[in-house]
């Protein structure tokens, strides 16, 4: 075999390879073809076996040719691969295409009830002023629910609370969260900043705005210098926290036996329907109540407030009927996010 014959073989291989490469139908076929031409046992290697028969001077020359052929084949394989893989990608995309616009499975929707959530909202606002939640007992006695709160037996102010009594004499279901004031004061001295949320009970016929079971949040602050002005400041912040920063408050005299002076607080906010809405009762803790809590009214003073959770939740969520809270219709509850 001479130089010319070898060179011719290589050039023929090159031409033949070019035809076959361009005819390759897939990247897999091309990969196979590529290794049959360029691999360790490929066609070029096979041809170059004949190199040993050449004179030593010719060997480098055929090496140059072989490298040229190898490079040419390699280049056309690469070019063909680019062309093939783009097509194959498109084909894969088409083959795997689905309708991704289906609505997807229904989510697992759970919810938190508006009553505990409203309590939590109040607790969160009051926490920023150092008030912490404390929860008391629902079964109370006449002494703590009434008498220590400056509501003596046989006093007309008792008419403000229609009470559910237990068969056990002297025991009742708390009519308000206010006995928590007494228990809080008795448990530890000032300074006190606490809110007392919980369930309350009254002998009351059920309608759209009344129930015999409902929830209140009591607030109590006792220190050396808290004033009626402070009460206004804190409750104004509470109202804004609950009804938005544009909410306005109106403070007017109220009457509760356990506060003096007593305050009624109305709120109005953009979008509120009926002008001023009364949302809570409050006042400076009555000296008799402070004394019953073991605190000297000459050295300490403070304020207390109480609000109806159902009423706040109704106003905040636009709920027209308080009975929905205990009805617990899942269609109603699912609305609370």
């Amino acid at each position: 075999m001479d130089l010319a014959a070898l060179e011719k073989q290589l050039r023929t291989l090159q031409a033949d390879a070019a035809t076959r490469i361009s005819a390759a139908a897939s990247t897999a076929e091309l990969d196979e073809l590529g290794s049959s031409l360029l691999g360790k046992r490929g066609a070029i290697t096979e041809i170059l076996r004949g190199i040993g028969a050449l004179p030593a001077d010719d060997r480098p020359k055929i090496g140059v040719v072989a490298n040229e052929v190898r490079a040419a084949i390699d280049a056309s394989v690469t070019a063909r691969r680019v062309a093939l893989s783009a097509g194959e990608l498109l084909e894969r995309i088409e083959r795997e295409r689905v309708d991704a616009t289906t609505p997807g499975p229904a989510p697992r929707i759970g919810s938190l009830h508006p009553i505990p959530e409203t309590i939590a909202a109040i607790a969160e606002i009051m926490a920023s002023f150092g008030f912490v939640v404390s929860e008391g007992q629902e079964i109370e006695d006449d002494v703590t629910n009434f008498q220590l709160l400056n509501i003596p037996e046989d006093h007309p102010s008792r008419d403000l609370w229609d009470t559910l009594y237990l068969q056990e004499p002297g025991r009742l279901l708390r009519t308000h969260t206010s006995p928590g004031q007494i228990r809080t004061m008795q448990a530890g001295g000032p300074p006190i900043r606490v809110i007392l949320p919980g369930r309350c009970f009254r002998y009351e016929a059920v309608d759209a705005s009344h129930g015999f079971e409902f929830h209140q949040v009591e607030g109590l602050l006792v220190d050396r210098g808290a004033t009626l002005a402070d009460l206004k400041g804190i409750l104004d912040e509470l109202a804004k926290g609950l009804f938005g920063s544009a909410a306005r408050t109106r403070f007017r005299p109220g009457y509760y036996p356990f506060t003096e002076p007593s305050v009624a607080v109305d709120v109005s906010w953009p979008g509120s329907k009926d002008g001023w809405m009364t949302i809570l009762g409050a006042g400076m803790v009555h000296p008799v109540v402070l004394e019953n809590g073991g605190i000297d009214p000459e050295t300490h003073q403070g304020f207390a407030f109480g609000l109806g959770v159902e009423r706040i939740a109704m106003l905040r969520h636009g709920i027209p009927d308080l009975r929905a809270f205990l009805e617990n219709d899942l269609r109603f509850l699912a609305g609370f996010r």
């Binding site: 919810s111 279901l173 002998y203 015999f212």
Partner: protein
């Protein structure tokens, strides 16, 4: 308290509109429930003048009238009343008018003659009780004017608080109005001209208990002609919300509204020689004016004569001495009774009256005489009465004057507003609380029972008006100052000093549990704590389920059911011991609403009483039914079942670092006896299972599953900070153990043995459970996978093998279960 403004204007000048006055009163602490225009329903009714009254040609009982109403055409109106005559001014309902009873006035033929409207009686207008005759108006009534503009009345309804009995009167409210407007307030008592007879002749007054009736005044009025009150009186009472009865009764009611002083009129002829105020005798009874016979209690105070009880003092009169059309002489009783006594009697007999309402709130002493005299004066004016000379009186007519000292500096400190001493005194004087010139006050009433000494010169003294018995302590005056100054003018601030130390919120863990459950697709509910007897009997947690520290922190269930003394209904007459019945009730409701699937939970309390000591405990209850997750084209729906409920509880328990274990089942009316288990653990314990098939709520599909558990910290616990060891680089290893469990044993028992015997295992899971051939009936094959975390040094295989060997022996002894093989690396 309804106030017709014309009445108010008799005592003070009011330039404000009713709405302005209502706002001003509300801001001064007199909450106005509403403002109404009495007579506003008189549409198309005007004042007319009778020009002619002639007999109807075809009907004797009808008359033909010609009526002029202003400048319009003369109207022909047929009328049935007899009290009309030409020249009178009368109310005319025009064609198209709607009467208060809903009747519409049409142009009508009456016995062949057209009638163009109707002349109205007081009853037809709902203005007086007179239905027989036309309401004859004053001859100065302006012709053609709408009737409401002439007879109508602005009425303000004030919610009077229990401490201000003095405001249950027009005069009392006039004082408040005067403080707002600055206009003077004056009460001009009607002069009383007495007759020749002296009151003492034939009548005596004896008060048995001066503590219960400290002051009593009697007057006698003779020659009374009982009839209807004058029209204007009837209308005024009606506008104020009271029914007109007769001129005598109306006179007492009129003075009650005007002065706030209830009095009572007895028919003199039905009363003996001595009026006695005494406690009722045992077995005594009294028929009250509402014709109920009342069995009196020995603590009821009565007005009596020498024979029998005549009235329940301060509450209601008696039928036997009631004023009737034949009455010609009346005794007016005007007394001060002990508020508590009146309140107890009214409560005992469920008999709340306008009088008892006022007596309970305390009476100004000097009103006893004034009230008696004013009623007598009205009887001379309205009923031709002649008052006998003098009164029968016991007790002092005036209460001793009281002064109250206060420290203006203390008022400033309480209110947080810079009001000088003089400003405070001026504010108080605007409502008649006048400062005493003696400025040597030092004794300060901090509470009704405790006084302190003020520094000389630092306090002011005020004279408490006789009607302001609510002013007892310094803080009461602080409220008056604030109220009169205006709450709206007090600045707002935020308290700055004296913060308490940090205390964690007791709801931290509870809120995490609630959020976890909501995220898992459950809806939180709040249900009734008050349930029926049937609900309460359904289930109560035995004290054996939640024990030890968990019972201490969350409350121990048990004891007797707590029953109400005065329930609203049998459906809610006792406190629940378990949340499950309340929850089931809501499952039932939601099934009725069409919720074929659902999942709800509540964190709430159970209540019980042990030896008279009530206790409350906190539990989490869950009820689930139907699909846990809806399906989609590529995934099937998953239904709630015992395992899914356990997965949920395991997630909850993970928050307190525990894996629930399941022990033997319980027998109850609420849970399926064959599908339930007790949950045991140090930090979570309770029950779970399927609803009992005997329950009325049970259905084959969907099944309802329930759980109720105590969780450590749910009531008031902290979220504990977990202590974490870094994991070694070596991977965990597992051992799968196949066991044959005999029919008598439960998987729960086997797992419990596995957990205690193989203490090195970081986890034990049941990965396979098989029953049926070729196993014997009841026999089961179980696969338990133990996971171990070898230490970094390795070489734990022997220890693991040793524990598994120990387990083999233990599980055989405890449960009769045999290990069939162990696999793993």
């Amino acid at each position: 308290m309804k106030i017709p403004l014309s009445w108010l204007r008799e005592f003070t000048d009011v330039q404000l509109t009713a709405e302005q006055l209502a706002d001003a009163l509300t801001l001064r602490g007199l909450e106005v429930r509403g403002v109404e225009r009495w007579g506003a329903n008189w549409n198309k009714m005007v004042i007319g003048e009778l020009l002619e009254v002639a007999p109807h040609p075809k009907a004797d009982r009808l008359q033909l009238t010609k009526v002029r109403i202003g400048d319009g055409p003369i109207l022909n109106i047929v009328c049935g009343a007899r009290n009309i005559a030409a020249g009178q001014r009368i109310p005319v309902a025009l064609v198209g008018a709607e009467m208060p009873d809903g009747r519409r006035i049409e142009r009508a033929e009456k016995m062949g003659i057209a009638s163009e409207g109707m002349l109205c009686s007081g009853q037809e207008l709902d203005a007086t009780d007179d239905g027989d005759g036309i309401l004859i108006l004053d001859s100065s009534a302006p012709l053609g004017t709408p009737l409401v503009d002439y007879l109508g009345e602005d009425v303000i309804d004030v919610d009077v608080k229990p401490n201000r009995g003095d405001l249950l009167s027009i005069l009392g409210l006039a004082r408040e109005v005067g403080a707002i407007t600055g206009a003077p307030v004056a009460y001009a008592a009607r002069p009383l001209k007495e007759g020749a007879d002296a009151v003492g002749a034939g009548l005596a007054l004896r008060v048995a208990d001066e503590a219960l009736a400290p002051h009593v005044v009697l007057r006698v009025v003779d020659g009374v002609k009982v009839a209807a009150s004058p029209d204007r009186v009837q209308m005024r009472l009606k506008a104020a919300g009271l029914r007109s009865i007769s001129n005598v009764v109306d006179a007492t009611n009129y003075i009650m509204l005007e002065l706030g002083k209830p009095t009572h009129a007895f028919d003199r002829a039905k009363v003996g020689e001595t009026v006695q105020i005494r406690l009722a005798k045992k077995g005594e009874s009294l028929e009250t004016l509402d014709h109920e016979v009342r069995n009196l209690d020995a603590t009821d105070l009565v007005v009596a004569d020498e024979r029998a009880a005549l009235a329940l003092a301060g509450v209601m009169g008696g039928a036997s001495s009631e004023v009737s059309p034949s009455t010609s002489s009346v005794i007016i009783e005007s007394a001060i009774f002990a508020p508590t006594s009146v309140r107890r009697s009214a409560q005992r007999h469920s008999l709340r009256s306008e009088a008892s309402h006022r007596f309970e709130r305390g009476q100004e002493r000097r009103l006893a005489t004034l009230g008696a005299d004013q009623v007598a004066a009205l009887l001379t004016e309205w009923a031709c009465g002649v008052a006998q000379t003098g009164r029968l009186v016991t007790g002092a007519e005036e209460a001793p004057a009281t002064t109250l000292n206060f420290r203006p500096s203390r008022v400033r400190a309480l209110l947080g507003v810079a009001l000088s001493d003089d400003e405070q005194v001026a504010l108080l004087s605007s409502i008649g609380i006048n400062a005493d010139p003696a400025a040597d006050a030092t004794k300060i009433a901090v509470t009704p029972k405790r006084s302190v000494s003020a520094e000389k010169g630092s306090a002011r003294a005020v004279r408490v008006p006789s009607w302001r018995s609510d002013l007892e302590i310094e803080a009461d005056l602080a409220e008056e100052v604030a109220r009169l100054y205006g709450y709206e003018r007090i600045p707002t601030s935020v308290p700055s000093a004296d913060l308490p130390s940090h205390r964690p919120s007791p709801t931290l863990l509870r809120d995490r549990v609630r959020r976890l459950l909501a995220d898992a697709g459950l809806h939180e509910v709040v249900t009734h704590a008050l349930v029926s007897a049937a609900q309460a009997e359904l289930w109560s947690e035995p004290a054996s389920i939640v024990t030890g520290p968990l019972a201490a922190s969350e409350g121990s269930a048990g004891g007797a059911s707590i029953v109400l003394q005065n329930p609203l209904s049998a459906d809610h007459d006792r406190l629940r011991q378990s949340l499950l019945p309340s929850l089931l009730d809501r499952v039932d409701a939601n099934l009725r609403y069409g919720a074929t699937s659902g999942a709800i939970f509540e964190v709430g309390r159970g209540y019980g009483s042990t030896k008279g000591a009530p206790s409350e405990w906190t539990r989490l209850a869950v009820a689930v039914w139907g699909d846990r997750e809806q399906g989609a084209p590529s995934v099937g729906a998953t239904a709630w079942n015992l395992d899914e409920l356990k997965r949920l509880l395991a997630q909850v328990a993970h928050l307190v670092g525990e894996r629930p274990a399941y022990g033997s089942s319980i027998e109850s009316a609420v849970l399926h006896p064959g599908i339930n288990a007790v949950i045991t653990g140090d930090r979570i314990a309770g029950v779970l299972g399927e609803l009992h098939p005997a329950s009325p709520i049970w259905r084959d599909e969907p099944r309802i599953l329930l759980a109720e558990v105590a969780i450590a910290g749910l009531r008031a616990g902290r979220v504990e900070t977990a202590q974490i060891a870094l994991p070694p680089a070596t991977p965990p290893v597992t051992r799968d153990v196949a066991l044959l469990i005999p029919a008598a044993a439960t998987v729960g028992q086997v797992v419990a043995v596995a957990r205690s015997a193989v203490s090195r295992a970081t986890n034990v899971e049941l990965f396979d459970l098989f029953a049926g051939a070729p196993l014997a009936p009841g026999e089961r094959s179980a696969g338990l996978r133990f996971t171990f975390q070898p230490s970094a040094t390795g070489a734990d295989d022997e220890a693991i093998a040793a524990e598994l060997t120990a387990f083999e022996g233990a599980v055989l002894r405890a449960c009769g279960a045999r290990i069939r093989g162990v696999e793993g690396q």
